[in-house]
């Protein structure tokens, strides 16, 4: 008789499996991955990776992705992938920078210009995302397809607005904002708002439940079309604020600005421990921890001299692996216990 033994059930193994299945393991794993990356690059660079100056650079670089990704988790939680997050952020950055420079040119004050820039960025992003959600629910077209169209459309608008030119915000203004930690404050306030909404209110719980099973959610009185709009509006808020953080950080906008933002944001969300399929295992800090991890990975690879094309390849491969690992169990298999 052929013995098809794989492994003997042992109490040690069962204990290890229990740890693996524990909800805290899922939550803590992204932090462990980040620590391992930091440790590995620290060894590879002789400790230069962990120098305070480099860590500050990583944090600053991660801030834009973290802000956009924090908003993005609301959309991903519903089980929808948004491909227009980067294009929306960049367009908001462009339009609001143009408005700011126009006010300065017209003799308006810097304060007025900043307020208008901020308001335009947020309102435009919320409008674009709200419009995308309504298009998806009213026309009954999948979010993915709507956002592919929006991504192309928004990029074309940005190209038409900028052409080959570069908009530059006077450096003394961006320095003044940075010195007052405005970018950190924007991110901090938005992150705190997102945590409360996502983890302590009906909105966050409902978004996760819709991501888990849309039909069941409907039968429990939670309508996808209403909550999808909410998710997109909050996501839009993150993109509008992300645009502001980006302006403070770099001070200039061109058609190549933040070209990899969408990919970075999606990679950050999944690296942060969230499934692209959304659902109950979604958490709002996934975007933040993921953004830091993505940036640390990129920074570390640059420091050890990896070719920039190869870095793009590694990030793409990593994303693919994480999505594959998060694939749901197919239907039609027997219930595990009987």
């Amino acid at each position: 008789m052929t013995d098809v033994a794989i492994r003997e059930p042992s109490s040690l193994r069962n204990k290890l499996l229990s740890v693996w299945e524990n909800r805290w393991t899922t939550r803590l794993m992204p932090f462990v991955i980040l620590l391992l990356i930091a440790f590995a690059f620290s060894l590879a660079t002789g400790g230069r990776f962990l120098a305070s100056r480099n860590l500050t650079i990583i944090l600053n670089q991660a801030l834009v992705v973290a802000t956009v990704a924090t908003g993005g988790t609301f959309i991903f939680a519903t089980g929808n992938v948004n491909l227009a997050m980067g294009a929306t952020t960049v367009l908001c950055e462009t339009v609001s920078a143009m408005a700011f420079l126009a006010i300065l040119d017209a003799g308006g004050s810097v304060e007025l210009g900043l307020v208008v820039m901020f308001v335009i960025s947020v309102i435009l992003a919320v409008f674009i995302m709200g419009f995308s959600a309504i298009l998806s629910t009213k026309l009954n077209v999948r979010v993915l397809y709507v956002t592919i169209v929006m991504m192309t459309l928004l990029a074309a608008i940005q190209q038409a607005l900028l052409g080959g030119s570069t908009l530059t915000i006077p450096s003394k203004i961006t320095r003044m904002l940075a010195n007052n930690n405005v970018h950190y404050i924007i991110f901090g306030v938005f992150f705190a708002f997102a945590v409360v909404i996502f983890h302590f209110t009906k909105i966050g719980r409902t978004l996760r439940f819709i991501g888990t099973n849309e039909i069941c959610a409907h039968q429990t009185g939670k309508f996808k079309k209403d909550y999808l709009l909410l998710a997109f509006v909050i996501g839009g808020l993150g993109m509008g604020l992300g645009a502001m953080v980006a302006i403070i950080r770099s001070g200039s906008v061109s058609i190549t600005t933040l070209s990899s933002l969408n990919m970075d944001t999606m990679l950050a969300i999944v690296l942060g421990g969230m499934s692209v399929f959304g659902g109950s295992k979604s958490f709002v800090y996934a975007g933040v921890i993921g953004a830091v991890t993505v940036t640390a990975l990129q920074n570390g690879m640059v420091m050890v001299g990896v070719d920039s094309n190869l870095i793009q390849g590694v990030r793409g491969l990593l994303f693919l692996l994480l999505v594959a690992a998060a694939q749901k169990r197919p239907h039609g298999l027997p219930a595990p216990e009987g």
């Binding site: 409360v196 719980r205 996760r208 099973n213 219930a335 216990e337």
Partner: protein, 502 residues
């Protein structure tokens, strides 16, 4: 006469799912020409052992022999082709392809002519198969999405039978079938026995098992408890073996208490896109109203329409205060609950925890303070803990995913979800489908307690015994209309009801 040749031998089999031990040193043999029933509570390991034999998953440890040769099928397709076919408990067909494509899924190469699949040949083979099995109401080129649940199961049966399996495994299939569907399945099983082949039959219906099976092998918590031959069948003995304790022979209610005259839910000449035309119904306070019939009679649509899930072309559904129910949100706000017959796809978030599933009906109840937006974690935990305790949901932790639970415990989670918000009206569509005798008994007791507390229950069921045993009033439907209304009386029998169903 069937010979005693051993067809399948399972030896010392273990199967673990994470930390859960589904099979613990299981050994049994299946002889030729035998219909062997596997029976046990949810989570006892019946589906697991049979799915391993059918190549759906490997064991953690252990071995098998099929027709005297070592047997370790790498896939279901392999097992199917080599003599063991299985009809699974869940949906086993793909909706957007044809019946023929479903039947030959994975075996398309059989119809290959050069690089091209000869579709006409595949259709012809399907037609021949369906005709041979006496299936006349399903077309080979029909997309499966156009078929109802029962017809889809029939397609799965046909798919299995194409390969003339030496062992046919029927896993909890009969609950998806109405009486005529069941008769069809039984005839296939009998033919297997007559042709000196075998059947492994899994069902929670003890009467059905005792009638159809030559022997019953009882499993409990992943362990074989014993095998009972037909001559020794004794329901109380088998139940005791299944659950390890004595259970009352009759677990239905035995009172004739009646109910209040107050109408709490009313369907007033409702018409839906399909099934119902000017349908009326009244549900009273403290009433268990049973609705029965064949699966396509429209009874499931009634439940959905009353809960606001079905678009009404005409008519209205109202509560006692005149509130119109036109969507699920209004229904839930007015303390209605609905248990779908499709538990896994409609009533549960399988990848969510027990906590998240039960708490999903309590977001507005478990607020931190007044009408504020924040939810109190403590209140939410209490909300869930109470149901886990009251319903005795077997779980290591309420944070475990629902898909790690057995069918009966999953159904308890669904019940908990609707009992927790103190629902006044419950619409239960086939609530005991696929659950074992112990869970069934617990659910019937719960329904009775709810009735006594003045709650109203609409019980839609394909099991006539259940309707007779639990309902204050039974409606039998056919073609979208009520053909018979019977009050709870001592003389009510299945025969009386069946006449009006068919």
């Amino acid at each position: 006469m069937p010979t005693k040749e051993v067809l399948l031998e399972v030896q010392n089999m273990y199967k673990n799912f994470g930390a859960t031990v589904a099979l613990n040193n299981v050994s049994f043999t299946l002889n030729r020409g035998v219909v062997c029933g596997l029976i046990g509570e949810n989570g006892s390991g019946k589906s697991t052992v049979s799915s391993i034999a059918a190549g759906m998953q490997p064991p953690t440890k252990g071995s098998m022999k099929f027709k005297g040769e070592p047997w370790a099928p790498p896939s279901m397709l392999y097992a199917e082709k080599h003599g063991i076919g299985m009809i699974v408990q869940e949906a086993g067909t793909i909706p957007n392809i044809t019946v023929a494509e479903n039947i030959f899924l994975g075996h398309e190469a059989m119809f290959k002519q050069g690089p091209i699949i000869n579709r006409a040949k595949m259709m012809a083979a399907t037609r021949e198969l369906l005709e041979g099995l006496g299936i006349t109401n399903i077309q080979a080129d029909q997309p499966v999405r156009e078929l109802d649940m029962q017809q889809r199961k029939v397609v799965e049966i046909a798919k299995c039978m194409y390969w003339k399996p030496e062992i046919l495994i029927v896993d909890e299939t009969s609950t998806a079938l109405s009486q005529d569907g069941r008769e069809f399945l039984y005839s296939i099983m009998a033919a297997q026995r007559d042709n000196n082949r075998s059947v492994i039959f899994i069902s929670h219906d003890l009467d059905e098992m005792m009638e159809q099976c030559d022997e019953l092998t009882v499993l409990r918590d992943g362990v074989i408890i014993g095998t009972v031959q037909k001559a020794d069948y004794e329901p109380s003995l088998i139940r005791r073996m299944m659950i390890g304790r004595e259970i009352q022979g009759n677990y239905y209610r035995d009172d004739f208490d009646g109910y209040s005259d107050e109408v709490v839910l009313k369907a007033d000449c409702i018409t839906t896109m399909e099934d119902l035309l000017c349908f009326d119904l009244e549900l009273h306070k403290g009433e268990i109203l049973g609705i029965g019939g064949l699966s396509q009679c429209g009874m499931h649509t009634v439940g959905r329409a009353l809960f606001g899930l079905e678009k009404l072309v005409d008519g209205k559904v109202t509560l006692k205060d005149g509130t119109k129910i036109n969507n699920t949100r209004t229904a839930i706000k007015n303390r209605m609950g609905y248990v779908s017959k499709n538990r896994d796809t409609e009533s549960l978030g399988l990848s969510a925890s027990i906590m998240e599933n039960i708490a999903s009906t309590g977001y507005d109840i478990n607020r931190w303070h007044g009408p504020g937006p924040l939810i109190s974690n403590r209140k939410e935990k209490d909300y869930v803990d109470e149901q886990v305790k009251e319903l005795s949901i077997k779980c290591a932790s309420k944070y475990h995913n629902v898909n790690t639970l057995s069918g009966g415990n999953k159904q308890k989670v669904v019940f908990g979800k609707w009992i927790a918000p103190d629902s006044e009206i419950l619409i239960l569509d086939c609530p005991t489908r696929g659950v074992d005798v112990g869970v069934k008994a617990a659910m019937y007791q719960l329904m009775y307690r709810m009735k006594k507390a003045g709650k109203s229950i609409l019980l839609i069921s394909e099991e006539l015994q259940e309707l007779i045993g639990m309902s204050d009033r039974v409606l039998i439907m056919k073609d979208g209309e009520v053909r018979l209304e019977m009050m709870r009386t001592e003389g009510l029998t299945e025969q009386k009801l069946i006449e009006y169903m068919i």
